[in-house]
């Protein structure tokens, strides 16, 4: 199962990568390749050229700063899932990467590749939204930053422009109670529904909640009614139940994903249940349940 033929160039730096794709009408960036290569092998994508950004040193690695962690775009899921500081300071991100794919996939797939690809059933978009992360993007006109809330536009569509690439994700050290709960597709392991939660606690009270969902809409989506249901009060069975009931209430039902695995109606039911599970896990992690 060979992909169609293409030209290949390995970029040594971000600027080399941007030069290589700029002005090329049909060039794709390849990172770990764990979304792109299966798509190419099945004939759904036939780019004329691949620009490999997997070996660009400046895009690799995790840096801890005062108040935030920077994750280079080419950092693999396995490295994020093993990062003790992220488990402490942004557990929703660490736990989510640990639940992506399988061991071999986590050894190749990258954080930047995941969010730039923006598969609606992927796990990371919800976590990036819940963590209130900032995405760093580089292009011919220099660098810019986009809040996670403005990054995901639609199915496989993000704020990243034609000649741009994601260079990293900045995760604030806030809301150190977090968790990810998902119902995987039994065949692919992708999320039928996945819910990522970040809670900022003030004692026993939830001062701030951010909840991001995967697999439900055509892109990672915040669940604001569920956030409202738990904010400003102690986390309890009642407030968690209310959040589960409210989880899908702001979503346009006719836009909810539907396929041979799960109807929209079933997905919305799962959404409530998995919102509750994620909140419970986050509460347990925070020591308030």
């Amino acid at each position: 199962m060979y992909p169609a033929q293409f030209d290949y160039e390995k970029a040594g730096s971000v600027s080399e990568a941007i030069d290589a794709i700029s002005g090329h009408s049909d060039a794709e960036l390849i990172a770990g390749g764990h979304s792109l290569l299966p798509t190419m092998k099945s004939g759904l994508a036939e780019p004329e050229m691949l620009v490999d950004i997997g070996d660009i040193d400046e895009l690799h690695g995790i840096e801890h700063h005062d108040g935030h962690t920077h994750i280079g775009a080419m950092t693999r899921y396995a490295d994020v899932a093993e990062d003790n500081t992220l488990w402490e300071e942004a557990p929703v991100v660490a736990e989510t990467t640990e639940m992506i794919g399988d061991r071999q996939v986590r050894n190749r797939g990258t954080v930047g590749g995941n969010i730039a690809h923006a598969d609606p059933a992927s796990d990371l978009p919800g976590a990036v939204l819940a963590a209130d992360a900032t995405v760093h993007i580089a292009g011919p006109d220099g660098e810019r930053s986009v809040e996670a809330d403005d990054f995901f536009h639609g199915m496989y569509a993000t704020d990243v422009g034609e000649d741009e690439l994601v260079t990293g994700v900045q995760v604030p050290h806030e809301g150190t109670a977090g968790a990810y709960a998902k119902k995987p597709n039994p065949a692919s392991g992708y999320a039928l529904v996945g819910v990522a939660v970040r809670l900022t606690m003030d004692g026993d009270t939830v001062a701030d909640a951010r909840i991001g969902a995967n697999g439900v809409m055509d892109h990672g989506t915040r669940l604001e009614p569920a956030e409202d249901a738990v904010e400003g009060q102690a986390l309890s069975g009642d407030s968690i139940g209310a959040a589960g009931d409210a989880a899908g209430s702001s979503l346009d039902e006719y836009m909810v994903m539907e396929d041979q695995q799960a109807s929209a109606e079933f997905r919305l039911q799962l959404l409530g249940a998995y919102t509750e599970r994620a909140l419970e896990a986050a509460g347990e992690r925070a020591g308030v349940l």
Partner: protein, 171 residues
């Protein structure tokens, strides 16, 4: 389409070769270089039969381009031990961890990578570690037995190397 020159170190031996950019690592290993340990199963990143180690980490060789692996050190099942006597290889025989054997090289290469990180796993952890490797014969029970048994052997070997003291518990 222009071929690209790459260097792959496979099981300790450095090879220089030219490949088409679209060539998958598993085909390069099997067809160009004769390392037929990694098997071609589903070719869709699901089954894990093609698993090899790339710079020490288990990866699915059907989802890596050979050009992406340029400069990497690859270990296939052929390179895991000199005489097929790695504790995992022995335990898969002893515990009947295979029937047709097609998935076995991938199972063992994933397990070997995993046991480096986690030398003393419980059965549930072994199952999770092998979730990217599919077996259609055994029902997995004996595969888990084999990995568990190999972990114990490797633990005992390490302890022997440390002066014969077997530590209880581990992590």
């Amino acid at each position: 389409m222009t071929e690209q020159d790459i260097t792959l170190t496979v099981n300790g031996t450095e090879h220089e070769l030219s490949v088409e950019p679209r060539e998958l690592l598993v085909h390069t290993l099997r067809d160009d270089m004769g390392y037929t340990g990694p098997n071609v199963g589903c070719e869709t990143t699901m089954c894990g039969a093609c698993t090899v180690q790339m710079d020490g980490d288990a990866v699915k060789a059907c989802t890596v381009l050979a050009v992406q692996a340029d400069g990497a050190e690859i270990t296939t099942i052929e390179g895991l031990s000199d005489d097929g006597d790695h504790p995992l290889q022995e335990s898969f025989q002893e515990e009947h961890g295979l029937q047709c054997g097609y998935c076995t090289p991938g199972m063992i290469m994933t397990a070997a990578d995993y046991l480096e990180d986690k030398p003393d796993p419980d059965r549930e952890e072994i199952r999770e570690a092998l979730e990217g490797n599919i077996c259609r014969c055994t029902g997995y029970q004996n595969i888990v037995n084999a990995v568990e048994s190999a972990a114990e052997k490797m633990h005992a070997e390490d302890a022997a190397a440390d002066g014969g003291v077997i530590e209880e518990g581990g992590d």
